[in-house]
Subunit: 331 residues, 3 copies
């Protein structure tokens, strides 16, 4: 396990060191759970009161807090505790799983696939015809990438993830376990006798930008024609559904269990809360936020926050909920 | 890439050709995104106004629209633009991923399994004891099919999908990536000391009819006893949950993130909207529709449309929502 | 197929045998679907009326019901029909899929992994560096377990499930197909130019207790630091999301499509209904119940039942729903 002295940590964080500790620090922990070899964080008064009884030898502390570290304990005073914490996590980030060999002999790689320099391909992967992997791409064991798909440099694909044919994936992406990219969109037409449903071919693909992260067991369907598009820097949580022909701008966030029905358009920096759903052919403009659990059935203006089902302006919705409770109390 | 002349396309569509184009057509695209080698579609006046500025060389156009194609551009006039579009997509449907060999040598197939004529089994698949695959079944790489399961002719199973033991799958089905068929139903009883939960064995199976499509990362649990049943022609989207002992009739539709709790019965042609949930032991009769995001807690009559949570008649629900907003505005 | 005489079955159930049948019994079935070689169950008057027309040769019958079995048919009278039924299902539980060899030669197992006595590891599994499996662990084909993870005795992991590095899994657990354990939590911070998002490393792990069952395609994310914890005896259904740093007590139940956002705490014996979501940093105390489809945005007291979105006391919520309908009817 990696361990650091308080001054080694401060070389990274460049904070204001108050007090000192001779303890070697092995990782971060919450203030009430920390052991003597751990560093904790105190972002507000609420947590300051736990410091005297905490076993932690050190803490990241907000500059505004008036607190003393005590004997053989140290504070690193910072303006932004969350940011300092993120840097601390990078410092203590343990190594990723090892590859004993770059391309595992059990991986099945089509002879026409192009594998960039420094790629790692794990056991039991499948890489199809004319697939192109950039440099330093990592496919963990049991990943499948189908024909004619390209993946940019430094993208990491975790086990169980399947990327279907003809998709275009950017660089520096992370796809977690059991993700489905490029499965057919959900499109049918009535059969000629009116009694059944006939599949509409889904001949498009999925285009994913750079620095996109997609959570475990999430799905991005291929387009009916043209492309389902996810812009650079989008972050998608677990169990999220992105249906065919949806288009996401840059740096959008979709939390767990949320979903876009077909042909939804998101601007840049849109935030979709957990379990929220967006009706097909709806546009949510840049900077808008959809509250958790909401159902959006109409376009949302840029920068607006909506809530509820059917979703409306969040303040109005909160007022309505309060008014209903108030009204019913009187009855 | 396949390309066609306008008259080759019209040989398929049998539409009314107006104007002409010498351009080779390489695929369909929306009217505002189309390039000169693409064909677009104009189903209503709303889109007709974009035609003069579109780069598309041709369009599928509704017969009722009064519009001229212009120089070296062509219209195919049709009564049903959506249906013509579906046929066009079939024409341009690109080839599916290749199998260099029908049964990949890394597939592990039990010696007692029966593999029909023309089956393709990809790399790293597992096919268990006494499994029977009909003819022309396709298992893409990394599929598992467990003991005593049978799969009908021409069914396609995409990578990452697991079909557990003793299930019966029809012909011409498509299961997309990372689907789970036949996992144990969710059933427990209190332990004898009342402090914990004891698993109830789930000894039934899953029976799936013909022409059923199941979306990526969806789940169909095996029955506690007897069978969980999905009727012919049902179409199930991504991330859908179908719990133990549910029974679906013919040609039902379940959109993304929707779910049936245990022992739900759907008639024929039932439509369940996205993220809607159906309480256990509920019956939704033939032709009924459940709106997106709804929670159904009681039986639904044939042909009825319900909405909301708890779900009620959709028109009533819409009126209630409007009335609440109206009432609260006055306050 | 296993079959038993009625007295063999009664040797297990130790019920009161009334009447008799010479029929060999091959399994359980509902009263209206049962064939002459099946046993059914009659827990209440509602089902008693179907007995005369049922083909079943035998039934588990509640002691309070006044009913005669008839010619060559038998009753096993019991106080708790559900419990007797569970025992019957155990009796008829068919064998699990076979392993022709304990450790399949296509499984890729790191030389430093420790595999306990009696483990079975299926085709195309991956077991990483320094993984430790207890005794009698079963990994079905196409499972991945990453570096330094430990799994306790008798735990069963179904195909497609991925367990990431450094997790600690208890004994006697069952993870169904395509489960994701230990994928990164969903954490970002604004980039320094304020235009994008930077990943916060997720350096913690997942700790899962004993006798935990996790349904197909569910996800348990690793902690940002420290651990996401699932207590002994928890039962988690399909497509459930458990976000980073959540902590579940003993014997909690989470139904399908439900989710815990980050840092949620559940006490012991908490029940979360289907599709319900819990806001981050919320505590739900022991014995509380969250109704299906609810959105919980504040702490819930021990033993309380909440419902709706935002969730409130279930009786209040039901009254509100009724009052709204009543009020609107009058208008």
């Amino acid at each position: 396990m990696a361990s650091y002295t308080i001054s080694e940590i401060n070389n990274i964080l460049k904070a204001e060191l108050i007090g000192n500790t001779t303890q070697k620090i092995e990782g971060p922990e919450e203030i009430r759970k920390a052991s003597p070899t751990q560093i904790t964080f105190i972002g507000s008064k609420k947590y300051a009161k736990f410091w005297p009884d905490s076993e932690a030898c050190a803490a990241l502390v907000h500059t505004d807090l008036d607190l003393e570290p005590g004997e053989n304990r140290a504070f690193l005073k910072v303006k932004n505790v969350d940011l300092a914490m993120a840097k601390l996590l990078e410092l203590f980030n343990p190594p990723t799983p090892v590859f004993d060999t770059d391309i595992h002999p059990t991986a099945v790689i089509h002879e026409t696939a192009k594998i960039g320099a420094g790629c790692k391909i794990g056991a039991n992967c499948y890489v199809g015809k004319a697939v192109e992997l950039g440099s330093e791409v990592i496919l963990y064991p049991n990943v499948c990438v189908f024909d004619d798909t390209t993946i940019g440099n430094n993208t990491i694909v975790w086990s169980g993830t399947i990327i279907r044919e003809r998709c275009i994936i950017g660089s520096h992406c992370i796809f977690h376990t059991n993700v489905s990219i490029g499965a057919d969109g959900f499109g049918y037409r009535p059969s000629e006798d009116g009694k059944g449903l006939v599949k509409i071919p889904q001949i498009g693909n999925v285009i994913i930008g750079h620095y996109v992260e997609i959570g475990a067991n999430s799905c991005v369907d291929r387009a009916k024609f043209s492309s389902t598009i996810i812009g650079d820097g989008c972050k998608i949580d677990n169990l999220v559904q992105i249906a065919h022909n949806s288009i996401m701008g840059r740096s959008c966030i979709m939390a767990g269990h949320s979903g876009l029905a077909g042909s939804v358009t998101l601007g840049d920096g849109v935030v979709i809360g957990g379990s929220a759903s967006i009706k097909d052919h709806t546009t949510i403009h840049s900077g808008a936020t959809v509250g958790a659990g909401s159902g959006v059935i109409g376009d949302v203006e840029a920068g607006k926050t909506v809530l509820g089902y059917p979703a409306q302006d969040a303040r109005d919705m909160l007022k309505q909920w309060a008014a209903i409770r108030q009204f019913l109390k009187k009855k």
